[in-house]
């Protein structure tokens, strides 16, 4: 992919690319026209996509009409992003088809999609901060000009076009300024401008407002309305109920990779949507918690990272048997703070006090020896030992406990440990020797939790514990968390799901841009006060 785009810049296929302000390959005037064969501009039917151990998409579908905002909703792991990646050709579908403007198509990748008139704003930004805003907007499709035999990038045209695009979306950034000079929310707006600038017929917005302030959200909605008026089909993927109900015409709900249904937005209520997304009644979303927070056992004072842009002056207290939720926008540095406390990142100032004693933590082993455990955000990257068995994964952090004669490992003891946990946490696996990577996300997470529980930690940091896990397993994990708290363990739970934070926390700590901005008691927490603290930028 990298090499192909380089090739294109050097002029061989340059003619087919956007030479500037979005001359899509298709005619401009057809943007409102519909194919005679169908009222839908884009359809996806019966899509199936499997990964090892997981059926990520199971008969999913989507039908987009022109000039509408179509919301795509579902829990984490429901398959929304996967479906979009299938549409874009980033993933290869096992089964199913994509029909675009009446014709069956096979899209080969993001650039091919862009050429056909389908643009996407990703949830995870991939900006190039050292380059200018204009370059970021036109990356992969720079306008070119010829100087003699050479084909070079036409910077003047690029910046002129970029300025126009930014104006169109009501942003007054200087196109030549470095992208890195903007805040995270501003970068997200530029990302949106980039997709809009392609001036195409289908626009997919994946969690576009996750880092935006209220004013910026309004600006975005204005743009969306304008695009809708022009006949663009917009897919709006989001968790935010009120936004969805405001801006969308139709709503498709997915659950566990399956298509649940499509409804007109006017007919929907928040409760109905949640019930459909989750598959269980609202009242049963979170288990009843019987823990009673006691005295303060853990204190963090003025914890500051060696990286000035990361966490700074973070202070909080943690009580015994308490579940402390940690809320914040993407980029708030919550994960970084917890990694710092666990010894995965370096800090330059600050104290950690546990049971009255100050702790020196420079590497994970130090934290573990002091009774701290951490379930990381990305279990594939830093959690599971993929090629190893479940038994190995469960026992790896506590091997010292299963020694015969101080040297030899007692396999029988380890097997017992595994079986205990399989029963206690309802882990579904054929045997203890199965490779952990063939388990579903939820079961993998439970194996990791068992790993940490084997050390009997007092403090358990969990970073997005239910990310990418199906709804049934989520509930089981909530029950596990509740049980741990009841037994007197203290849990720190980072989460980006508002409802999860409100449903599970005794207290919520909110961070914004590396600073702790406030605390909210569990009983008083709601979306508004959490968001207000989460967007308290300096």
């Amino acid at each position: 992919m990298l090499w192909r785009t380089h090739f294109l810049i050097f002029g061989t296929e340059a003619g087919n690319l956007h030479g500037g302000s979005g001359t899509c390959v298709q005619d401009q005037k057809n943007i409102k026209g519909v194919s005679k064969l169908s009222e839908y501009r884009l359809e996806m039917h019966d899509v199936v996509k499997t990964f090892p151990g997981v059926r990520a998409l199971d008969g999913a579908q989507l039908k987009l009409r022109p000039g509408t905002v179509h919301a795509l909703m579902g829990e984490n792991g429901a398959g929304k992003s996967t479906l979009m990646k299938c549409m874009f050709g980033i993933y290869h579908m096992d089964e199913g088809e994509v029909i675009y403007e009446g014709e069956k198509v096979q899209i080969k990748g993001p650039l091919d999609a862009l050429n056909r008139g389908i643009a996407m704003v990703h949830q995870e930004l991939q900006p190039i901060p050292e380059r200018s805003i204009g370059e970021n907007i036109y990356v992969g499709r720079y306008p070119v000009k010829k100087i003699g035999p050479l084909t070079v990038i036409d910077h003047d045209k690029m910046y002129r076009d970029a300025a126009r695009v930014l104006e169109e979306v009501h942003l007054n950034f200087e196109p030549r300024a470095k992208l890195g000079s903007l805040s995270v929310s501003q970068m997200q707006l530029v990302e949106i401008a980039k997709a809009v600038s392609a001036d195409c017929k289908v626009l997919i917005l994946d969690e576009p407002t996750s880092s935006l302030t209220a004013a910026e959200v309004e600006a975005l909605f204005t743009i969306i309305n304008e695009l809708r008026g022009k006949g663009v089909s917009i897919v709006y993927i989001s968790h935010k109920m009120d936004e969805i109900l405001r801006i969308s015409d139709e709503v498709t709900i997915m659950r566990d990779g399956q298509y649940i249904g499509t409804w007109s937005a006017k007919e929907l209520t928040t409760d109905f949507i949640i019930t459909k997304m989750v598959g269980r009644e609202l009242s049963e979303l979170y288990p009843v918690r019987e823990n009673t927070p006691g005295e303060v056992v853990f204190e963090v004072e003025d914890f500051t990272s060696i990286n000035p842009k990361s966490f700074r002056h973070a202070s909080f207290q943690l009580r015994k048997g308490e579940i402390l939720g940690v809320a914040g926008l993407v980029g708030a540095q919550r994960t970084e703070l917890m990694e710092g406390l666990f010894g995965l990142r370096s800090h330059t100032a600050g104290k950690i006090i546990y049971k009255g004693q100050e702790l020196k933590i420079n590497q994970p082993k130090d934290a573990i020896n002091n009774g701290i455990a951490m379930l990381t955000e990305d279990r594939r990257a830093t959690g599971i030992l993929g090629v190893l068995s479940i038994a190995d994964n469960v026992s790896i952090a506590s091997l010292n406990q299963y020694l015969i004669g101080g040297v030899m490992l007692d396999d029988a003891k380890i097997e017992n440990l595994v079986q205990e946990n399989v029963a206690k946490l309802s882990i579904k696996t054929p045997s203890s020797k199965t490779q952990i990577q063939s388990l579903s996300g939820g079961n993998q997470q439970k194996v990791l939790i068992s790993r940490w529980l084997a050390n009997n930690p007092d403090i358990f940091i969990m970073d997005e514990p239910t990310r990418g896990i199906d709804v049934g397993a989520k509930y089981e994990i909530y029950c596990i968390i509740a049980e741990m708290a009841k037994q007197g363990k203290s849990i720190i739970m980072i989460s980006s799901e508002m409802s999860e934070l409100i449903g599970m926390s005794d207290r919520i700590m909110v961070m914004c841009d590396g600073r702790v901005t406030g605390f909210i008691e569990g009983g008083e927490a709601n979306q508004e006060n959490i968001m207000s603290l989460a967007t308290r930028f300096e």
């Binding site: 785009t5 380089h6 810049i9 993001p110 990703h122 992969g140 070079v152 910077h155 594939r380 990257a381």
Partner: protein
């Protein structure tokens, strides 16, 4: 304002590095993930080719040793 074109980092929207991998452990680490997309089928054909070559080499060696070729 002419910038060198060779050190342009073009944004690869898919990202060739697996999700979450921050620094490679060694030069060869994760080399399987960085190789271009080879289908299992073409790999099978390659393996078959090598096996045939192997058998051929042995056969030719034997035949030459017995002065047949």
């Amino acid at each position: 304002m002419k910038e060198e074109l060779d050190d342009r980092t073009v944004l690869d929207e898919e990202g060739t590095q697996p999700h979450g991998q921050t620094q490679p452990v060694s030069a060869l680490d994760g080399i399987y993930e960085r190789l271009p997309d080879i289908s299992v089928k073409s790999l099978d054909r390659f393996i078959l080719l090598c096996v045939i070559a192997l058998v051929a080499v042995v056969v030719i060696g034997v035949l030459r040793a017995n002065h047949i070729i």
